[in-house]
């Protein structure tokens, strides 16, 4: 069997994720502006911002080490890789067997560790503060994410994300209580991991509250652009992981070009709804005090573990 169509599908999907990610960011911002009764910026604004940043001169602090300059590329690369693992449009992607859900979580962890190290590299108080807070959020979000994925893995008997999606998409529709728990936990992790309200606020630079922004405070120009773009891909990847686990309908099989239009349409629809939903969540909730974040995330962790236990008790 020729692998060429499947590989073409893989490349297409990877490029699509990278190019479409800022659009999702723009859509979320637009929705949020509407909900908050502001006049909305263009949906293309993230692209303009990226273009502007790429053209500027990079300013780097005097004490910066090579690690500082390398990190934006590593972050972007990790997110791109994650976008290639997740079945966004199709299952049976040829790259998927190389990295399963555990590796996927580890890719996000790798990016987080490098971001935190780069933040501490300059030696300002903000960098250390941001790195510390980011790792605080990460150490709870990561296991919660893993437990959510394990619940799905137990249902489908596999840790391959594409196999999980196949199993979940092609079964009779039954409401699985374990998946319900997992979905709530996943939503909480998504908010935390992507630095959204109520855990972090992507639009503020207030030292008392910022987490992600404090880490990247020293970055400018093309480095900042890569980090921002990487963050957009991360949000995109997280949303598509969510679709893969909890709403896998409409997904195609790699190499099946006939199924592509439907898959694309389904993806756009799902992203539009999810993006609007995210804007609603961010509008109706207020940002937590920093030390409420661990409570929030340990709730997510416990819900995910509960989901896993429910699976064994009810369905095992």
């Amino acid at each position: 069997m020729s692998q060429v169509p499947a590989i073409a599908f893989q490349v297409f999907q990877s490029v699509l994720v990278v190019l479409a990610a800022p659009l999702l960011m723009g859509w979320v911002n637009q929705c949020r502006a509407w909900l908050q009764n502001r006049s909305a910026p263009s949906i293309l604004l993230p692209y303009y911002t990226l273009a502007k940043l790429f053209r500027k001169d990079a300013v780097i602090a005097e004490h910066a080490s090579p690690l500082f300059r390398l990190t934006p590329y590593i972050l972007f690369g990790c997110m791109w890789l994650a976008g290639g693992i997740v079945p966004v449009l199709a299952t049976a992607l040829p790259f998927a067997p190389a990295a399963d859900i555990i590796a996927l979580v580890a890719v996000f962890a790798l990016a987080r560790v490098f971001a935190a190290l780069a933040a501490m590299d300059i030696g300002t108080s903000f960098g250390g503060l941001g790195a510390r807070r980011e790792m605080l959020i990460g150490f709870l979000a990561e296991p919660a994410m893993l437990m959510t994925l394990f619940t799905a893995a137990f249902i489908s008997g596999s840790t391959q994300l594409t196999t999980i999606v196949d199993a979940l998409a092609h079964r009779d529709f039954v409401i699985q209580p374990s998946l319900a728990f997992a979905a709530v936990a996943f939503l909480m992790v998504l908010l935390a991991e992507n630095a959204r309200i109520p855990v972090d606020n992507p639009t503020t630079h207030l030292e008392l509250t910022m987490v992600h922004e404090a880490m990247i405070l020293e970055y400018s120009a093309r480095h900042l652009a890569l980090i921002e773009w990487g963050a957009a891909i991360k949000l995109f990847a997280y949303m598509t992981i969510g679709f893969a686990l909890f709403a896998p309908w409409g997904i195609a099989t790699a190499g099946d070009w006939a199924g592509l239009p439907l898959a694309l349409a389904a993806l756009v629809a799902k992203l539009a709804i999810a993006g609007a939903g995210l804007a609603v969540v961010e509008t109706v909730s207020a940002k937590f005090r920093l030390f409420r974040a661990p409570e929030f995330l340990s709730t997510a962790f416990l819900l995910a573990v509960l989901g896993m236990l429910t699976h064994f008790l009810l369905q095992g």
């Binding site: 790195a131 840790t159 391959q160």
Partner: protein
């Protein structure tokens, strides 16, 4: 003619012992130790590693030595399990020995002679522990190992703290040794034959088998550093010179894992799932405790020692899952757990040795051990910083390095839970995977702290400046130190990227111990794919992963540099409108751990003094202590004091009273015998 693994290994042991002896002779000539003894010892390590691998592959062979007591000769044997641990000992000690050749450069001749003797006797005794095929040689080698390492720990015995750390180590090592001895006693059952062949043949009744298991588990666990018997580890490992710390944390505590596997799987046999549950519960506690206390440390070597506690927990998690699966009659999943545990044993040996050597380089370069005194070390010691980064990423279980592979395998073992028939155990098993996930993420946090504070940022002004500043060169160590660290760093990468070769070896070990190896597909799929059971269930390809991630990062860099200008302007860091910026404003190690202290507060014993509002010279102090001291160690110590006080009533110091005791004992014995 190529010697068999058994004779080759024995030859390595003899050379090590000879090097130890020779280190004493030319006591005035330090260049012997530096130029000959340690490099040659490293070479022997490499040879031993080769024989070890051969031993995994070759059929088991055994021999009786002419040494030992009359009618009680020493038995030695190399089988796949011993071969694997000999490989670990040889490969890791090779890197440490070559590093030691450079590290002990400025050591005084007399001290160096003693260190050389103890070091090589320590290495040889570890090899003999693994080779031993009877309880007699095993205990002799085990005790030699404990004593040699005790003397190495107390190298700086003029410091009181180090003397008491050594005493604590010796005490717990002997408590463990007593338990192991009793365990052999139970298996032996009074038949006068202590060879492992005879012990293996013993059929124990289930209650006695469980007693033997508990004795072996806690006896070896004391050496491995599992809670609650870990208290010596964070005291003794940092006290020793850095290469010795690396050897102890990297290799010595692994001999305890060897002993556990040998006794439980091989000698006692008939593994029961209840044992696995006991192991899992202790392992989960050890893992979390180790990492949470590591996060509170600001002494680099103590922090690494607490991580050894954590990693022993991770190894035991794999081992416990394996025992549960075997106990329920699922040998394939059991073999997977065993392979995961042994692979993590090897991985931890490699990266922990590397990290301790890195800490040693920092100590030599700057005389610093407290993280809060460091900062910006990457600028003056870039190579050490690179090796340390590799070790830090590996221990944080990040792909594509080796720590990730073994934790991935442990997760995969936990995910086999649905095949279990027992519904409670089945639903509890994934909770241990949750523990592992939590510990992994906390480890990453801890090493961000270590690396960010010590190697990145700006140099801090030491609060505990080293006494003799001349002795510290400030830069990367010499060539030998770097070769040693590079060897281990390469090990981290190779074991992470090409795990399948090692899995095939480990499969032979598992087959020899459990009778069943991994699933067919796991072994036949080829070197590119790591598969625990079937490809449908899970797979991971570190090579493809590495190629893709490097490719993607390079493609990004290339595109950005092609499409845009590469102009860079250097400026001072953003000061937030407050121009007075000092390195003291950076995060300290304690500040970095503060959120964890907040979240897990009840687990720590904190003693804090806060300055009042009117304090003229405000001071803030924080002391974090191990709770185990208060509920376990100090009460036991008080009990021991109390008992010895009562016993001392018998000791009057008059010879006539002692003669009376002897007389009474004799009478009592006569009555008893008659």
């Amino acid at each position: 003619m190529i010697p068999t693994p058994l004779t080759g290994t024995l030859a390595c042991v003899v050379v090590w012992l000879a090097l130890g002896g020779l280190s004493l002779v030319p006591a005035a000539n330090t260049s012997f130790a530096r130029r000959v003894a340690f490099p040659l010892g490293a070479l022997v390590g490499l040879v031993l590693a080769a024989f070890g691998l051969h031993g995994v592959w070759a059929p088991a062979s055994s021999a009786a030595l002419v040494l030992g007591l009359p009618d009680l000769p020493f038995h030695v044997r190399v089988d796949p399990l011993a071969g694997f641990f000999l490989f670990l000992l040889g490969a890791v000690s090779a890197g440490i020995s070559i590093y030691a050749a450079g590290y002990f450069r400025s050591e005084a001749p007399g001290r160096l002679a003693l260190i050389g003797l103890q070091y090589f006797v320590f290495l040889a005794s570890m090899a003999l522990v693994i080779l031993a095929d009877d309880a007699y040689l095993f205990m002799v080698a085990w005790e030699t190992m404990a004593l040699a390492s005790y003397f190495l720990v107390t190298t700086d015995h003029h410091q009181g703290a180090i003397r008491s750390a050594g005493f604590l180590y010796l005490l717990i090592a002997h408590l463990g040794a007593i338990a192991i001895l009793l365990c052999f006693g139970i298996m032996h059952g009074g038949r006068g034959d202590y060879s492992f062949v005879a012990l293996r043949a013993t059929e124990l009744t289930p209650p006695w088998a469980t007693v033997a298991f508990l004795l072996a588990f806690f006896g070896f666990g004391a050496k491995a550093g599992m809670i609650p018997l870990h208290a010596w580890l964070p005291e003794a490992h940092p006290a020793a010179p850095s290469p010795v710390s690396a050897l102890m944390s990297g290799v010595m505590i692994k001999t305890a894992i060897y002993g556990m596997v040998r006794v439980i799987y091989d000698l006692i046999g008939g593994v029961r799932w209840e044992w696995g549950v006991i192991v899992l519960v202790i392992a989960a506690g050890t893992t979390l405790f180790g990492v949470l206390y590591a996060l509170m440390q600001h002494d680099l070597k103590r922090l690494l020692a607490y991580h050894s506690v954590e990693n022993i927990g991770i190894i035991l998690l794999g081992l416990g899952m394996s025992m549960v699966f075997i106990g329920f009659g699922h040998p394939v999943a059991g073999a997977l757990g065993l392979v995961a545990a042994l692979y993590h044993t090897l991985n931890h040996a490699v990266f922990k040795a590397l990290l301790f050597l890195g800490a040693g380089s920092v100590l030599h370069a700057r005389g610093l051990r407290d993280l809060n005194d460091m900062g910006g070390l990457a600028r003056t010691m870039p190579k050490t910083a690179l090796y340390f980064l590799i070790g830090a990423l590996a221990i944080s279980a990040l792909p594509p390095l080796n720590g990730f592979v073994s934790e991935w395998l442990t997760f995969q073992t936990a995910l086999q839970a649905p095949i279990l028939g027992h519904s409670v155990v089945r639903s509890v098993l994934p909770l241990f995977a949750a523990t592992l996930a939590l510990a992994g993420a906390l480890t990453a946090m801890c090493f961000v702290k270590v690396y960010g504070i010590a190697f990145l940022g700006q140099p801090r002004e030491p609060r505990h400046p080293p006494g003799d500043t001349e002795a510290h060169h400030g830069g990367d160590g010499g060539a030998l130190e770097q070769v040693g660290m590079a060897w281990l760093a390469i090990g981290c990468v190779v074991l992470g990227v090409f795990p399948v070769a090692m899995i095939v070896f480990l499969n032979r070990v598992a087959t020899a111990l459990t009778g069943t190896g991994l699933a067919e597909e796991a072994l036949t799929i080829g070197w590119l794919w790591l598969v625990p059971t079937t490809t449908a269930q899970a797979s991971y390809s570190p090579v493809i992963f590495l190629v893709v991630i490097v490719g993607v990062v390079m493609l990004t860099a290339l595109l950005v540099h092609r499409l845009y200008h590469g102009r860079v302007r250097r400026a001072s860091a953003w000061d937030c409108g407050f121009p007075e910026q000092t390195p003291r404003m950076q995060d300290t190690a304690d500040a970095f751990g503060q959120p964890i202290r907040h979240v897990f507060g009840p687990l720590y014993l904190m003693k804090r003094t806060m300055p009042g509002p009117d304090d003229q010279s405000p001071r803030f102090t924080l002391k974090i202590e191990d709770r185990h001291w208060y509920w376990l160690y100090l009460p036991v110590a008080r009990l021991a004091d109390f008992v010895s006080e009562k016993v001392s009533l018998l000791q009057q110091g008059r010879i006539s009273v002692y003669l009376l005791y002897s007389f009474l004992t004799l009478i009592a014995l006569l009555v008893f015998v008659a």
